[in-house]
Amino acid sequence: MIALPHIYVLGGLFFAATAWFTGRDERNPHRLRAASFWTLLAVSFLAGDRLGDLGNGLLVVGLALLATLGLGTGGAPTSTVEERRESAQRHGDRLFAVALVIPASALLGTLAAKNTPWGARLIDPAQATLVSLVLGVLIALVVVFAWLRPRLHAADVAVLVPMREGARLVGTVGWAAILPQMLASLGVVLLSAGVGKQVGLLFSEHLALDTRFAAVAAYSIGMALFTVLMGNAFAAFPVMTAAVGLPVVVQRFGGDPAVVCAIGMLSGFCGTLLTPMAANFNVVPANLLDLPDRDAALNSVIRTQAPTAIAVLAVNILLMYALAFR
């Protein structure tokens, strides 16, 4: 059965290759720092279980310090514009077909692992989507080489070409690649320190929530603001719902908990659209799309999303007010 440990080995090899290609990229003035960053991540994936908790903690300190110093940007070699145009013409719509192999495998693999006995024997059902996604990548690469037969340069080793192309893209994502993993870990530390209860006390002591509308607005806006800080509505939800949602909106004013929680979570999502801490949604695309203001606090992805986010948050407050107290 293919499960997470196998995927971690693949991930480790991929990040090791990223480190190798980054370290040799002479157009990046900080290539040594960047290579060290990806080496540490490769070590985490290949040997994280043997490092011990403190060892992993120190590894994270290294990652954070290297990222703070700056990883630089390089220019890994890839095909030229002319080669791409020519190749696009030669392969045509077959390129789309291969691109769809990845989501299709993720979907079919997940369904098979959860619903069929042979699927469950092949793919760990607990991590079905992730494992199937990675299998989809491997299948897509096999299809590329077997069906499209790409023309490679004489010096290229076929297996290393996708690694180098992937490394080029991971390089564009940069340190933002591990921010979601860092935030998930921060959530664990905050939870064990009882931060949720403290925030609840803060809210109940300082805000006079004596009308339905004030309570609904405080909960929805609080969800959005706390999500802005945490970068993740899942982290904000238990805190704000225990602080305001359940005790005030549901218990004091008699709101329907299903309506309150469902719309409360969606108010948190409005916050996700507004924060650079939600790196995988707001910073990663800015990097992947080469937006010039990618490092600004409010980059153009966030600014483009803001009007919709604020309008939907306002609608959410009205919807919760109208639907929760029927």
């Binding site: 995927i7 991930g11 011990g52 992993n56 590894l59 994270v60 954070a64 990222a67 703070t68 696009a88 013409q89 392969h91 390129l95 789309f96 291969v98 691109a99 990845i102 989501p103 992730l130 996604l133 897509a140 590329v144 996708p162 192309e165 992937g166 490394a167 893209l169 994502v173 340190w175 690649a177 993993q181 860092m182 935030l183 998930a184 870990s185 959530g187 664990v188 905050l190 009882g194 403290q198 800080l229 939800f237 719902t241 908990p257 299903a258 929680c261 469902a262 969606l266 999502f269 659209l273 949604f281 707001n282 695309p285 799309l289 992805v301 483009t304 999303q305 919709t308 919807l319 639907l323």
Partner: protein, 237 residues
């Protein structure tokens, strides 16, 4: 006292420090603040710091699966090398009804509907937006208005990323087995309230409709603005 960690997040935000550093500092400060008592000496605080760093390291190790998705870039990078983006551009330029606004509105609806069916992994910035949606949107604009300036090109790209995010966020909660719905159900159960996932996902629908109406209207306005500033390219030019 344990709220000091949140204060560090806010401070780091304001100072524009590297987010990885902010997150690590917030965790350490939270751990230290929880251990701090008026009589605490350096040794016990040092111990608390080591304990917090270990807890963070342990969590980082168990959460590695979050970063596995980057493997996708090996296949996407390979397809880009073979001209996937160029193909997307030429393909959409051949569809004469295509405009940036219409293309993104169609993508928005598809992304929202598939997310509502639980198919969230069909889209995404690395899998769909960079290799396909953004080149198509740029291709549609170029076919209509001629060569684009950098400012407009970046605006279009930002709109592509925004459409993917907004459609995903306000679509996925309609699916009953998505993480956020299960989180709500679990949280409410711990608090002694029983709800069915179906009830929760039902109440995600009004917001989903509102997001669809608001964002498609904004895409229409965006297209109008493009048309005003760039003008329509003459036929046969």
């Amino acid at each position: 006292m344990s709220l000091l960690g949140i204060a560090v997040l806010v401070l780091g935000f304001v100072l524009r420090a590297n987010p990885l550093l902010i997150v690590l500092a917030a965790a350490l400060v939270t751990g230290l603040a929880a251990a701090w008592t008026p009589g605490a000496d350096a040794a016990s605080l040092g111990q608390a710091a080591v304990a917090t760093l270990s807890a963070f390291g342990k969590a980082f190790n168990t959460n590695r699966y979050v970063s596995v998705v980057w493997l996708v870039l090996a296949a996407i990078g390979m397809l880009e090398r073979l001209g996937l983006q160029e193909r997307a551009r030429t393909w959409i330029a051949g569809v004469h009804a295509a405009t940036v606004g219409r293309l993104l509105a169609v993508y928005f609806v598809l992304r929202q509907v598939t997310s509502a069916l639980g198919l969230t992994s069909l889209g995404g910035h690395a899998q769909m937006v960079r290799p396909l949606v953004a080149p198509m949107a740029e291709g549609a604009a170029e076919a209509r208005y001629g060569p684009l300036g950098d400012r407009v090109r970046f605006q279009i790209r930002a709109h592509c990323a925004a459409a993917d995010n907004i459609a995903l966020f306000f679509g996925e909660d309609i699916f009953i087995a998505i993480a956020s719905i299960l989180l709500i159900k679990g949280f409410l159960e711990q608090s002694g309230v029983a709800v069915e996932p179906f009830e929760l996902s039902r109440w995600a629908i009004p917001t989903a409709v509102a997001a669809l109406v608001i964002h498609v209207a904004r895409l229409w306005l965006f297209e109008r603005r493009l048309e005003c500033t760039l003008g329509r390219k003459e036929r046969g030019e």
